[in-house]
Amino acid sequence: MHDKEQSVSYLDYKGKHSGIFAWILSTDHKRIGLLYLMASLLFFAVGVTFGFLMRLELIAPGRTIMDAQTYNSLFTLHGIIMIFLFVIPGLPAVFGNFFLPILIGAKDVAFPRLNLLSWWLYVLGALLAVISVFLPGGPADTGWTFYIPYSIRSTTNVMPALIAAFILGFSSILTGLNFIVTIHRMRAPGMTFFKMPLFAWSLYATAWVQILATPIIGITLLLVTIERMFGVGLFDPALGGDPVLYQHLFWIYSHPAVYIMILPAMGVVTEIIPVFSHRTIFGYKFIAFSSCAIALFGSMVWAHHMFTVGMSETAQVIFSLLTFLVAIPSAIKVFNWVATLYKGSISTDAPLLYALGFIFLFSIGGFTGLIQGALSVNMHIHDTSFIVAHFHYVMFGGTGFGIFAAMHYWFPKMFGKMYNMKTAKVGFWTLFVGFNTLYFPMFVMGWLGMPRRYFDYLPEFQIYHFISTIGSWILIVGLIIMFTNFIKALRSKTSYTNINPWSGETLEWTVPNKPPLENFEVIPTITAGPYEYKDNDEILTKEDN
């Protein structure tokens, strides 16, 4: 470690501050990435616990372990925590912060101090959300959507939850802004837009959605806050307001938000697939542009969450059509990934398993999304557990598995340690089986009419609920296997020195494990694209035998 002065890792260098301040006041993008990682995993654990308790409650009809009010609060908190504190920051703020500057050959992001500020805002918002649980009045029970008029009437602590979401939105905007400027201004010499790794492209598309959509939810939640606090007439139908308008404003952000969640996960998968099949990515530009297309179309489909509220038929048809259109760029990505695997020399290490898990689960989630996009079917399954199954397949099976894939892929680079590959694979399969056991029955019972967010249900649904709850246990075992594997690796004394374990061709594999403060000794000059495997053409021209 001491052979060269530059090789002091980002974990070891001494800056102005010491102790914990060396972390919480650090402007190093890598340290901030880790701060986000720790915070978001903490909240992930809380969210999983809430989900686990809800599933346990639903194992049998009637009251099992909690009353209806507690159940309502649990699904609200589960939603707020998972969405705002885990899934949204999970990839951009954690891995985007850590790897975006390295991937494009920069020393840091464009505004390091702003970056730190957005972490602090994240923490502030998270604290507010936590406080709302313990204040008298009880945690919010509106669902994460804060629908009017219940969110003005509910006597629970809706206000802190609203303000928390507002602040978290601010944090997300600042991260997005930082990434856009970073990508425009900080690329290494020679790295044109089309020589950027595709994870950077997906972060770029995401960042635009972050800064253009998030202010809408910000102002909307602020208006609800003002309405609750001062009794100003804005959305309350008793004062002439329009609750449907609130829903529009809410989904104008919250639908694009799912693309904030999924796009970076797609970016991670795009990084992993070529590396583990040792082939140049198929259709680089198509993947890059499909990210932008998803961001664009995804911003115009929000009202498909509201097909039952009584919009005009014309509007419904348009939104339904646009919803179908979003599937095209997503499908382009899936086909390109599969085409990249074709004839590749595939190593099925844990990161690739997670990436393939992503493709499988995301495809199920995506196709069921199309089913919901059809107007007539939507009437049938609106507000049923079919929807719950769909978005868990996309958000957890998609983004969640994307985050796990990123963790397995970049773990040796971030910590200079290596986890046990066999355990990682066991963890994956347990998670995968648990996931499907947990969520697939929800499709079935939703189709049969099981409403979502219900504390109780008719006896004919019990078998599905029972299977689903068993699935949640398997899933949690999988999570425990995965995280103990990581923790064991972190605690082991042997440091891992191979700087390019997967033979990747992107820049992060050229810097030492646990990269030093400013990543590069000398900023590299880029001459080739990111995934140019030398024998690619050879493989492709080889005759099938």
């Binding site: 802004l177 809408i216 007439g233 404003l249 403060l517 400013e518």
Partner: protein, 207 residues
């Protein structure tokens, strides 16, 4: 340690174009933020055209016009402050910045009297006088208070920002070579101005 210190000083890189880009992006988010409110306004005005028309008569067009003049002039003085610092005239720049703050203060004073007069007449959220009116008027005044209120908040933030810039200019942190911070504050100030340019006709001139 010295290696580290060197690193840190290297770390502070300067990229005015990047900063400018960051500011513009931030201003976009502000526009979208207010855009959300303008959308709410548009929907309700479409639903309650007549009542919006009646309610707008309660607003004081004279104060509104005066404030528009004040704010537009302050945008001019802000630009002059930036031109002055570019020409290395520190004193003149400080002078124009102070004038800008002064004008902003005048805007807020007017706003204060305007709101107070309304409240005196019993028109404020939740008041009996207001609740006795039709739904459209309740919404109009709800939006009036919220939108001009949030705009006022932006004016206050702008005043603080320009105040800090005046301090920077005095210290020499903002100078003819490096005035990006002042420029940022200026852009922010123009945003405050442009939002008012839309608020003014939508609330005061629709009678």
């Amino acid at each position: 340690m010295s290696v580290v210190a060197e690193h840190i000083s290297e770390h502070v890189h300067r990229d005015d174009l990047g900063s400018r880009m960051g500011i513009w992006l931030f201003l976009f988010t502000e526009l979208v933020l207010f855009g959300g409110m303008f959308l709410v306004y548009a929907v309700y005005r479409f639903t309650y055209q007549q009542e919006f028309h009646v309610a707008a008569k309660e607003l004081n067009t004279l104060i509104g016009t005066l404030n528009t003049l004040i704010l537009l002039t302050s945008s001019l003085t802000m630009v002059l402050a930036i031109v002055a610092i570019r020409k290395d005239n520190k004193f003149l720049s400080i002078f124009f910045q102070v004038i800008t703050i002064f004008l902003a203060f005048g805007f807020m004073v007017n706003k204060y009297f305007e709101w107070m007069a309304k409240i005196h007449h019993g028109i404020y959220p939740g008041s009996e006088t207001l609740l006795a009116k039709g739904n459209g008027e309740i919404l109009f005044f709800g939006l009036y208070y919220v939108m001009t209120g949030l705009h006022g908040l932006h004016v206050l933030i702008g005043m603080v920002l320009i105040g800090v810039m005046t301090r920077f200019t005095m210290k020499g942190t903002v100078n003819s070579d490096k005035y990006i911070h002042l420029e940022a504050a200026g852009l922010y100030w123009h945003l405050v101005d442009i939002i008012w340019i839309f608020l003014f006709p939508l609330f005061y001139l629709i009678t």
